[in-house]
Symmetry: C2
Subunit: 509 residues, 2 copies
């Protein structure tokens, strides 16, 4: 059997641009994983890893024009967005280089012997070690920041874990180009190039998650694809952690007072957020609770005008376009669903953004409108009009887990008046990031960031953005009664590496 | 259909002592979980939780005599051991009370806005919130420290999670007695008694892991039982974290130099560790690599003499006794397996400890001796005699994951001479706690403790002993651009609760 070709496709035309490579066979995957596994010792040195990550940013910057052009040709995301995404990608790599240098992620804890405790405490020293080879499943919608050089890769390499990326079929050429830049950076620091590899193909992705030497996985994509891989990871003879970011509705609640205060600002802001990147963000606000009445009408009118005036766009691939159009049609077919702006096809390759509207009462009723509670990937949002707080809570009670939840309040509510605090507490149960008076799109790379939430938004309690994402690829190990000469330097009393640590309950920064 | 009775059984006689209660039906489990879920708000106050945990220790101490007598009658573990276990249980509860007070587990991170970063960082504040109702599966071999009032319960309550315990059938009366003490402590602080509940029965355990309002689970037990529950947790419509401690062989490597230096001390120490608690510890050393030759012979002779002189004991229940005797017979039937001391039955209810012996070469060969690489619960260990380091590594290559790995070295090796460092690094890949010149039995409760390791020893990367065990029951949540008045007090700039935190990259202790 000949190997299946991997094509780079132009979503603006549907045409095949070039044959990039062939899909990886099971043997290819095995070779890649074994080669990655063999680099663990080389990756063990922290200063080398930090330097590698920094050089990676330099190599990516050096190839910026070529990378952005290739990614734009494959994804139609546009050069402005892609230049920004490359900058974000470099920010992530640098942030993890800093994390590696700081060493706080090692979570060093040292307890000297204490016979006064029952049972007695011997000499115990704990830190964290890398899990092993990490499989990264690249996202369609971020050809850089959540793909080959993205946050999963950066955090895994930072942790000392070699990486095998399953490339997304929407950007195979970009994947190979970026891989070359990362491997050049590895070579510059004497690291084997196989600290990172890329494989292509659906079957390769399955072979990867099942490989005995793969120790953990990161995934960004759909609920269906992510759940299938999660199930495969859990069904292994040796199950492995699967950190998947699947799907999210990202509900927004606009209080009555907020609508009264700034209906236009909220309507226009929502239009900008839901159409950004042609609605292809995992944190796109997909459900917005707006009060019935004049102020709410005003908000929806502004939203609709802005969305109607939004230029058509091209989705990442034609399958997504088909799904988007089918999703709109399915939702429009539900009883009581209106379309203040009808999303739809634009020519043979593009799409127009739209707005759907329904009563909160219909949405809160069991069963009939469940399609509106599922993510519809693309430039559309659902406005649910409510008459009272009871309806808001009834809708929230029906929501699955989310990456984000957003609350718009009035200035007085901001100061604590009314029930905004209780609403915020309720939203906290539903999501991993709570945004007030803003929009969930735009996920900052920062220590306090959390990009993850109750299932199905993620399959674990960890984050895929922000510096704590490194925690996913480590496991603690404790040494008991171990002579100084045999201890890893990270755990020696003299602290030769100058690491932050907790010793006998006291933090040493 | 009438409900199945739950009997308290005396393992020393096999007689039914008393009917304790009935097995929980699915409706009973639902009631318990819903009642637990309803207590989340009551558990939200940290000072109340800490006080509750401390009062729990007082209530357990007040009922000490009754608890120890009941547990001894049900488990035959003896009053000395059980008094120690109760002290350990109280140590754990107090340690988690201290953790709750200190608040470092909340992992507060605050980033103020920074427009200089790409993409710009808004105001972001992160901390950790409780996951929800935690299901705890009690262990047979620790009726207190890993059961109703044990580490899983203590850490979950400390995190703010209500608990429903699936009691172990080996100690139902103790479970109910201890539950009463914990509920008395809850009431003393105005908490609903349903912050903790107990259910009995195999089917109840399955209903519990599948309940939609159960958010996470902790388990200590067998590979078979733990894997079945892990699979059920992963197969839920909404999968949940399952922190299971299943089985572990706990390998020990005695270097040639160590055997030359102190064969007797090691042999006697090993006998003590492997027979402690009638060999019913999850960290019992179950496989010991000993050099061929005179020194190794001397070690095995000392071990054998000590084991042969060990008084017979009673296992936790008759099923375990049957499994132990069948396991010994199966292993003795393998080619080349000797029994320097033959384990076996003692009367109708007891067992005698034993030692098995095999060549490392046979053990390293694929397939034929795999039964020796599985945990045999009870007072037996397997000595594998090696001729060179290659054989040691070949055996280690065949081992599954372990809670612990132990290395015995000579004084010179302690100082860095020879290959002990490399051996320690190799053992680190196989286990979560590495012990040098000691024994794995005796798991201290301390911040640096790690009780967990690669599968099947645990199903996650977390620990079930030590203060970091609280991390299992929490998830981070980030607040973006949230007005001070709406922020949880934990995240306000003024730090009204005086919590340790990281602000703009700087740690404030």
């Amino acid at each position: 059997m000949s190997e299946a070709p991997v094509w780079s496709v132009d979503p603006r035309t549907g045409e095949h641009r070039a044959k990039v490579t062939a899909e990886a066979t099971a043997a290819d995957v095995d070779t890649a994983v074994r080669a990655a596994h063999a680099t663990r010792d080389a990756l063990a040195d922290r200063p080398t890893r930090a330097a590698f990550l920094r050089t990676a940013t330099a190599e990516l910057e050096a190839a910026r024009e070529e990378i952005v052009a290739e990614a734009d040709a494959e994804t139609a995301l546009g050069t402005v967005r892609l230049n920004g995404e490359l900058a974000r990608t470099c920010t992530q790599l640098r942030a993890f280089a800093d994390v590696v240098d700081a060493g706080e992620y090692l979570d060093v804890i040292i307890d000297h012997p204490d016979d006064a405790i029952v049972p007695p405490v011997p000499d115990l020293r704990r830190y964290k070690v890398p899990l092993g080879v990490v499989a990264v499943y690249a996202a369609s919608n971020f050809p850089l920041a959540f793909s080959v050089p993205g946050g999963d890769t950066a955090s895994a390499l930072a942790a000392g874990c070699p990486v095998v990326v399953k490339a997304h079929p929407d950007h195979p050429a970009t994947s190979e180009l970026v891989l070359a830049a990362l491997r050049k950076a590895a070579a510059a620091h004497g690291l084997p190039e196989t600290v990172i590899s890329v494989v292509h193909g659906f079957d390769a992705g399955l072979a990867l998650i099942r490989h005995p030497l793969v120790a953990a996985a990161g995934f960004t994509g759909s609920v269906r694809g992510g759940r299938a891989l999660f199930d495969a990871a859990a069904a292994r003879p040796t199950p492995i952690p699967f950190h998947g970011e699947l799907g999210s509705l990202n509900p927004v609640v606009v209080t009555r007072a907020a609508a009264a205060d700034r209906a236009e600002e909220i309507g226009a802001g929502l239009a900008g957020s839901m159409t950004l990147g042609v609605g292809q963000f995992c944190v796109k606000p997909g459900l917005v609770l707006v009060p019935e009445g004049t102020d709410g009408d005003h908000l929806v009118d502004t939203l609709s005008q802005s969305v109607a005036a939004t230029a058509p766009g091209v989705l990442l691939d034609h399958r997504m376009r088909d799904n988007f159009l089918a999703g709109i049609a399915e939702r429009l077919g539900l009883p009581g669903v209106d379309a203040p702006v009808t999303a739809g096809a634009d020519g043979d390759h593009g799409v127009r953004a739209g707005v759907l509207s329904v009563s909160a009462a219909a949405l809160a009723a069991s069963g009939t409108h469940d399609a509106l509670l599922e993510e519809c990937f693309g430039p559309v949002t659902v406005v649910a009009r409510y008459t009272d707080d009871g309806q808001v809570n009834a809708v929230l009670d029906r929501l699955p887990g989310n990456l984000t939840a957003t609350l718009h309040v009035s200035p007085r509510e901001s100061e604590g008046e009314g029930d905004a605090g209780a609403l915020l507490a309720r939203l906290t149960e539903l999501a991993g990031r709570i945004v007030v008076d803003g929009w969930p799109t735009g996920v900052a790379v920062a220590p306090a960031q959390h990009h993850g939430g109750p299932y199905p938004s993620t399959t674990s309690t960890s984050t895929s953005v922000g510096t704590t994402a490194i925690e996913r690829w480590l496991r603690p190990v404790a040494y008991q009664n171990t002579p100084e000469a045999l201890l890893p330097p990270e755990l020696r009393d003299a602290n030769p590496l100058g690491l932050p640590r907790r010793v006998d309950g006291r933090r040493e920064v």
